[in-house]
């Protein structure tokens, strides 16, 4: 059960509530491969090509004289326990390198480099001293047709106080037919990072009250994309 705390503000009050990702309605279809000998598994192994030789660059004579493109000694070795490692691909004998710098290269939509900066992993920001705030409200139909929602999380209460808090928020959104854009930081303007080292998302709350009026559904929808087409590429004539 993956549930996390969230510090949320609404109606001049703030409280800690629970938030978690939701399972799919449809059960995942899991095809399996079998032969008459039983189940078939996928095994990771070393391929047979020399990593530093480009087969397409070899001449016919070289291929007739030998097999310079093949690494017979390593071919077929199964890989069971491996660790990720960084190394210099140009080194004669590549060895793991422990001291390195990670840099982020920001590219524009055409792939041109805009900026270089040191990599800084993002910290989860749903449960900090500063509560997540409602930055603005928009009509439900406008939000659902303007943004692409990649993830759906449900916000639930922990006790009767937080039940009232969330119920009233869901009821307000439901009654007004709105969704609330929420954000982190003092003004609620910063994107949300749901997991440690995760990606930033813009988040919207959707609220609904059950037909009987005694239950609520408060969802947090995450988006990092507007629903629109890329700008046409301008060509200088």
């Amino acid at each position: 059960m993956a549930m996390d705390k969230m510090h949320l503000e609404f109606g001049g009050k703030s409280g800690h509530v629970l938030v978690g990702a939701l399972p799919s309605v449809r059960q995942a279809v899991k095809p399996v491969l079998r032969t008459r000998h039983g189940s078939v598994g996928r095994v990771r192994l070393v391929g047979g090509l020399q990593p530093r030789v480009d087969p397409a660059a070899l001449s016919a004579d070289e291929l007739v004289r030998g097999d310079p493109e093949l690494d017979i000694a390593m071919a077929g070795v199964t890989l069971e326990e491996t660790m990720g490692a960084y190394f210099d691909p140009a080194a004669e004998t590549p060895e793991p390198i422990g001291h390195f710098q990670q840099t982020e290269v920001v590219l524009d939509a055409l792939g041109n480099e805009k900026e270089r900066r040191p990599f800084q992993p993002r910290a989860r920001n749903l449960d900090t001293v500063t509560p997540i705030k409602i930055a603005r409200r928009l009509p439900l139909a406008q939000v659902l047709t303007m943004f692409v929602f990649k993830h759906c999380h449900q916000i639930v209460h922990e006790d009767s106080l937080s039940f009232d808090f969330l119920f009233n928020l869901a009821k307000d959104l439901h009654a007004k037919g709105e969704m609330a854009l929420i954000g982190a930081g003092p003004k609620g303007a910063q994107p949300l990072v749901v997991r440690e080292r995760g990606q930033p998302y813009r988040a919207f709350l959707s609220g609904e009250i059950s037909p009987a009026g005694d239950q609520y559904r408060l969802l947090m929808l995450l988006s990092d994309q507007e629903l629109k087409l890329p700008a046409p590429i301008e060509v200088d004539v």
Partner: protein, 192 residues
């Protein structure tokens, strides 16, 4: 452009599927590089004996329980041999109008732009199989605007189970698998 044959209330219309629209297409992307003393490093694998191998050296093989390469395996779902469902480009795609609120519980994986004429604004439920597969994905066609300003998108993903909750709460419905700038515009989606 591949074409989809959409069916709505018995009427058939052709929709041209344009490119997939990704976040990178709209805002750009961020690539992480690893360097040491000015040299660009590559990520690979360290083996227990201390050797390193590059990612391009890794291959995969289907092997049976006896450790032999499996030849002509059959695909099963449960105990039944699986049957592939043809690509959506090779069969009609029925559409059913649904309320816009269905998008609230729908996690979108892929977005495609569609060129389709004659489909009124609204949300339509369908399924989508880019290639033949054992399980077509859930999908919606969203049409907004009208006339020359109409835009249509195919949204492919999966619907999430989101129950109402009351005073007494069971937390079992959550997915067990799931694991700045001060004055930025909250509607700035580039977030680079």
């Amino acid at each position: 452009m591949p074409a989809l044959q959409l069916l709505l209330n018995g009427a058939s219309m052709t929709a041209q599927l344009r490119n997939k629209v990704t976040k990178d297409d709209l805002y750009g992307s961020v690539k992480r590089v690893v360097e040491s003393e000015g040299r660009l490093l590559e990520r690979g694998y360290l083996l227990p004996d201390g050797r390193t191998i590059r990612r391009t050296q890794v291959a995969y093989a289907s092997m049976d329980a006896e450790g032999s390469v499996a030849e002509d395996p059959t695909t099963y779902i449960g105990e039944q041999p699986a049957v592939q469902i043809p690509s959506s480009f090779e069969q009609d795609c029925p559409l059913a109008p649904v309320p816009l609120q269905r998008l609230v519980h729908f996690a979108v994986g892929d977005v495609y732009a569609l060129d389709v004429a004659g489909l009124p604004a609204g949300l339509y439920e369908t399924s989508f199989n880019y290639r033949a597969s054992y399980a077509p994905r859930e999908a919606f066609v969203l049409v907004r605007g009208s006339g020359d300003a109409a835009e249509a998108f195919l949204l492919v993903g999966d619907t999430k189970s989101a129950p109402f909750v009351g005073q007494t709460l069971s937390y079992e419905f959550f997915d067990a698998q799931a694991g700045a700038e001060e004055d930025t515009d909250p509607l700035d989606f580039s977030m680079m």
